[in-house]
């Protein structure tokens, strides 16, 4: 590890001030991705700004027809939370499948969404459920938030405060796990929302999470496992790597959507 400084502010305003002071300064949420990259010397922060001392970033509340999850809420907390399990069970299931129990005890929803790993689970839920990312300065709709490979709409110094998930009529998540890394090789989150049927795919796109038009069209006509399975997804913009070809990922997308809806994923 390179040397770095460490700060632990107690308010979002103080954290933003420190982060804005120098572009080398970086926020530290759970650190389950960030710390390994620092250890590999792929990342050299000036000051790590630990967000764990900011109380307002943690917690889960139901506000009318929306579930609001604080950015520093851990995956384990989301997975076990009665409010989430009742309102959006697919989201609780997704959180309970990330990484392993120790990663889930420390890793956070805000960290996952800020990092926007192309194979992270949470971006698919945020995009499919038409979530709103509430930051220290504004509210960003999920459709505008995800901007490609490890890229988001967040500006330097801007922090995710919470994520608001409108409660869907129905939702399901299916992932095909890469057995060594525990990341989804393909993850598909499908939802019947107030703004129509939405289906988001993670783990497969060259530019990160994306909405799958073919799935959305088919499921709008018939929201069923059978309809999902019959969909043909083009492999054009999908990833090929040592784990799977683009064609293989394209074939997995309808299967994971189908298993998600059938409850067998």
């Amino acid at each position: 590890m390179y040397e770095f400084q460490y700060a632990k502010p107690s308010t979002v305003a103080d954290a933003s001030t420190t982060l804005s002071a120098d572009e080398a300064n970086q926020p530290l949420a759970g650190g389950q991705t960030l710390i390994p990259t620092i250890k590999q010397r792929l990342n050299a922060p000036g000051t790590l700004v630990d967000l764990s001392g900011i109380g307002e970033l943690t917690g889960i509340t139901r506000e009318g027809s929306t579930i609001v999850i604080g950015a520093m809420t851990t995956h384990a907390t989301v997975a076990a939370n009665a409010t989430v399990r009742d309102a959006i069970p697919a989201l609780a299931k997704l959180a309970g499948g990330i990484g392993d129990p120790q990663v889930r005890n420390i890793g956070t929803i805000g960290g996952s969404l800020a990092n926007n790993d192309p194979a992270a689970d949470y971006p698919s839920a945020a995009l499919a459920l038409n979530a709103t990312i509430k930051t220290s300065t504004r509210e960003i709709p999920a459709d505008d938030y995800f901007q490609g490979f490890f890229t988001t709409a967040l500006e330097p110094g801007e922090l995710i405060v919470s994520v608001a998930f409108p409660i869907p009529e129905q939702a399901a998540y299916g992932r095909f796990e890469q057995r060594a890394s525990r990341y989804p090789m393909v993850g598909v989150f499908v939802a019947k929302t107030a703004s129509g049927i939405r289906a988001a795919v993670t783990g497969a796109g060259q530019d990160g999470v994306f909405r799958c038009a073919e799935l959305e069209t088919a499921l709008t006509s018939d929201f069923s496992a059978k309809a999902a399975e019959a969909v043909k997804v083009p492999a054009d913009d999908l990833m090929s790597d040592l784990h799977a070809s683009a064609d293989y990922r394209a074939a997995l997308i309808p299967i994971m959507a189908s298993r998600a809806i059938a409850g067998t994923a």
Partner: protein, 157 residues
């Protein structure tokens, strides 16, 4: 250099450490508690699992400074002062849940967290929980048996 203070196995500890000190290095190098192991150093193998404020976590993926004021439990904190093994430790010995033993501290700290929230886990629940702990000797069969044995012992059935 910041001063880090935390309770480890019930005792107050403190040291001046560089900001980039990992929790596992604080535990091993500063406190000389070498029961917590570093296997992969990439947060995959689980040999370094300890409890931070009651929850299992990988101490190679946590900075010591992040644990300021925390309550940390390591494998050294499980046995009674007179040497009587914790039921999980005894079960790993009884069921032969280890061969080389390198992964065992992490296995025990991980499954202790499981048993604290799910006192009678099923075989698939134990195997799923152990996703973050890698053993290259046993094939896991006897590890699962050990956890089941400890669950019986700890729940008194």
């Amino acid at each position: 250099m910041p001063t880090v203070t935390m309770r480890v196995n019930g005792a107050q500890t403190s040291a001046d450490v560089p900001e980039n000190t990992l929790l596992v290095d604080y535990i091993r190098e500063h406190l000389r508690l070498t029961g917590t192991h570093v296997g992969c150093d990439t947060s995959q193998c689980g040999a370094c699992v300890v409890h931070i404020d009651g929850k299992s976590a990988k101490s190679c993926t946590r900075l010591a400074t992040q644990c300021e004021g925390s309550e940390v439990l390591t494998i050294e904190g499980l046995a009674a002062p007179n040497g009587t093994l914790h039921p999980l430790q005894a079960a790993f010995k009884e069921a032969h849940g280890l061969q080389c033993g390198f992964c065992t501290p992490g296995m025990i700290m991980s499954t202790l967290d499981l048993l604290q929230t799910n006192p009678k886990p099923t075989d698939p629940e134990i195997r799923s929980w152990l996703k973050g702990n890698i053993c290259r000797c046993t094939g896991y069969q006897n590890i699962v048996k050990a956890v089941e044995l400890a669950a019986d012992e700890m729940s008194g059935s």
